[in-house]
């Protein structure tokens, strides 16, 4: 089954096209979305199993020889990320049934979601730098639709800024690809990497690498380039926010990881120093934001920025512990952010506000929600049996191995800030005097709470089953650390 790695890209794409035909039939839309996503998750599981048993899967479309056609490559990292994004989208689609409202569902909400998933899976799987640009545009176009769908004043205002920032970063991406093409004469990432290690790394390649960090940093919200994220992400409704927070920035983080490890095998000195400093500043900026707000959405949004910093810090260590920790933490963070956003969606639905000062005492009325939130919060902070622990442990270990003592200490200190920021939500919303609540019917509450609680259970499983998942992460980190494995698999030398 040589085309297996295309299934997670093609199934959402075909589902989206089918959905375009009957936008007004809401029940049929929901059924088709769930069937399509279930098929896509099944294909992703199969793909991951194949990659683990048979090694890297690579197919060059149209049977052209490797550097001339567009290559799609699936290694353990991209297969794991594809599986995670499909799983998260499945839960969020389920969660959307009750929370997004029929008006949006009638106006191409699900097709936009599926097109975005197509772009995300494609960006994770592609082995061609220009094709990656195209898949980025696919996911960005769908995200423009999702962010403005509904047309409230606030959404219109914020999506103008969101589109403008992304148009600029896309033009910058094209510029970078043009320069890379003039230096190497090829667009296939494995071929670029092979050529770079042949001719040695010149100064212009360092410049191009810094430009790539800027491009993907703008998409993935690293320190000086995260300014657009808090405003834009707070505008759309909660399911869209959960999709964005869990998936979009992580595509930028993945692209930085992939390009930096592939393009700079020889002289990582300057760029990795830069990446590390930016990552630490990202963590600090995120920590300040996470403590500054009394708004549920903003607190978790700034936690996205902190996590981006932690992952990139792991990547910047360039030793196997740091890289493995970064891979572990990346997938953990996608799952836990989706779970947290879905849970704050439930809290907002129950209380009718996202201001922490106006809520309290939910422990008495909604104990299940309270304990699920506490588990998710501990998972985010990295309390040992839960999902965030092992990734961060490895990242800190990598930092100490690479003699970046201060960076490791900042990572550990940031965990305390993260824990404080989410426990503050717990204290304000669940303890204290009960406040008058808007309330939702038990049926609506159940259908919002069950997908959120199940996704939290998945994160708990991810933490408890570390030993079982570790071979995937070790293989992924080994390929990042040793680009020649990737090059050989693609160019079949």
């Amino acid at each position: 089954m040589i085309n297996l790695l295309l299934f997670p890209v093609l199934i959402p794409f075909l589902t989206a096209m089918i959905l375009m035909f009957f936008p007004k039939k809401v029940h049929a839309q929901r059924t088709v979305v769930i069937i399509g996503l279930a098929g896509s998750v099944a294909a992703a599981v199969w793909l991951l199993a194949t990659v683990m048993t048979d090694g890297i899967q690579a197919v060059t479309l149209g049977s052209w020889p490797a550097p001339f056609g567009i290559t799609m490559v699936s290694d353990p990292l991209s297969a794991g990320l594809v599986l995670t994004s499909n799983l998260i989208t499945l839960f969020i689609a389920w969660y959307s049934f009750r929370s997004i409202g029929e008006g949006r569902e009638r106006h191409f909400y699900y097709p936009a979601m599926m097109f975005m998933l197509t772009g995300i899976n494609g960006a994770f799987t592609t082995g061609d730098i220009f094709n990656m640009f195209v898949f980025f545009e696919v996911l960005l176009m769908a995200s423009y639709v999702l962010i403005v769908l509904g047309g409230e004043k606030r959404q219109l205002r914020e999506s103008i800024k969101y589109i403008l920032v992304n148009v600029i970063s896309s033009a910058f991406f094209v510029t970078t690809v043009a320069m890379l093409y003039s230096v190497t004469g090829t667009l296939n990432m494995a071929d670029i990497s092979a050529k770079v290690s042949e001719i040695g790394q010149s100064g212009i390649l360092t410049v191009i690498a810094v430009m790539l960090i800027l491009v993907f940093g703008l998409k993935g919200a690293i320190f000086p380039l995260y300014f657009w994220l808090p405003g834009s992400y707070a505008a759309p409704p909660v399911p869209v926010l959960a999709l964005f927070g869990a998936l979009l920035t992580k595509v930028g983080v993945y692209s930085i990881t992939r390009t930096v490890t592939l393009l700079l095998p020889n002289d990582p000195g300057f760029t990795h120093e830069l990446l590390m400093v930016l990552a630490v500043l990202t963590i600090i900026a995120g920590c300040i934001g996470a403590l500054a707000y009394f708004d549920l959405k903003q607190i978790i949004i700034y936690n996205i920025i902190i996590a981006v910093g932690v992952i990139l810090f792991g990547v910047a260590q360039m030793n196997s512990a740091g890289l493995e920790g970064a891979v572990f933490y990346l997938i953990h963070d996608m799952l836990i952010k989706a779970a947290l956003f879905m849970l704050i969606g439930v809290i907002i639905a129950v209380t009718g506000t996202s201001n922490l000062r106006e809520m309290g005492g939910l422990m008495k009325t909604h104990p299940g929600l309270a304990w699920t939130w506490l588990i998710a919060a501990f998972g985010l902070a990295g309390i040992p049996p839960l999902s965030g622990f092992f990734g961060k442990l490895l990242i800190v270990e990598g930092a100490f191995e690479a003699d970046n003592l201060w960076g490791g200490v900042i990572i550990l200190a940031s965990s305390l800030v993260v824990l404080l920021s989410v426990i503050r939500i717990f204290i304000h919303a669940f303890w204290g005097e009960p406040q008058p609540i808007a309330g939702v019917s038990a049926k609506v509450y159940r259908s919002l709470f069950i997908p959120a609680a199940l996704l939290t259970a998945v994160t708990v499983f991810y933490g408890v089953g570390t030993e079982w998942l570790r071979p995937v992460m070790t293989d992924a980190a080994e390929i990042l650390h040793e680009p020649s494995i990737y090059i050989d698999a693609v160019l079949k030398e």
């Binding site: 640009f133 176009m141 219109l156 800024k161 589109i163 403008l164 148009v167 033009a171 043009a178 708004d295």
Partner: protein, 113 residues
């Protein structure tokens, strides 16, 4: 030739940055148009201006222009066309709803919506 093109592209980028930093939303969109022109011309320039014949197979011609950058530009043009169309419609909707095209007035947060 590449030098001249690089200078022109530099001017396009400078004009785009200047326009995108202005207050009126329409000027910002014109700036994004200039920016994508600059990026497309840059791909063409970076591919090199070697070769005489257009990249169409003809008998007796051996020296073709590099076809790859042209394909990349064609892709990038339709993408930026789609995004610009969406952006213009959104600017129109925002003008109807928010009744301003001044970027300075498009502020606000939860407390001051």
């Amino acid at each position: 030739m590449e030098i001249i093109m690089s200078v022109i592209i530099g001017f396009l980028f400078a004009g785009a940055v200047y326009l995108m930093l202005s207050r009126s939303l329409l000027r910002v969109i014109i700036g994004t148009g200039l920016l994508s022109h600059g990026a497309h011309l840059l791909i063409l320039t970076m591919g090199g201006f070697g070769g005489d014949a257009p990249p169409v197979l003809t008998d007796g011609v051996t020296d073709f222009v590099d076809p790859l950058p042209q394909a990349l530009i064609l892709t990038a043009i339709v993408i930026s066309f789609g995004v610009t169309a969406f952006f213009l419609v959104m600017a129109y909707r925002a003008y109807q709803e928010l009744e301003t095209d001044n970027m300075k007035l498009l502020k606000g947060n939860d407390e001051y919506d």
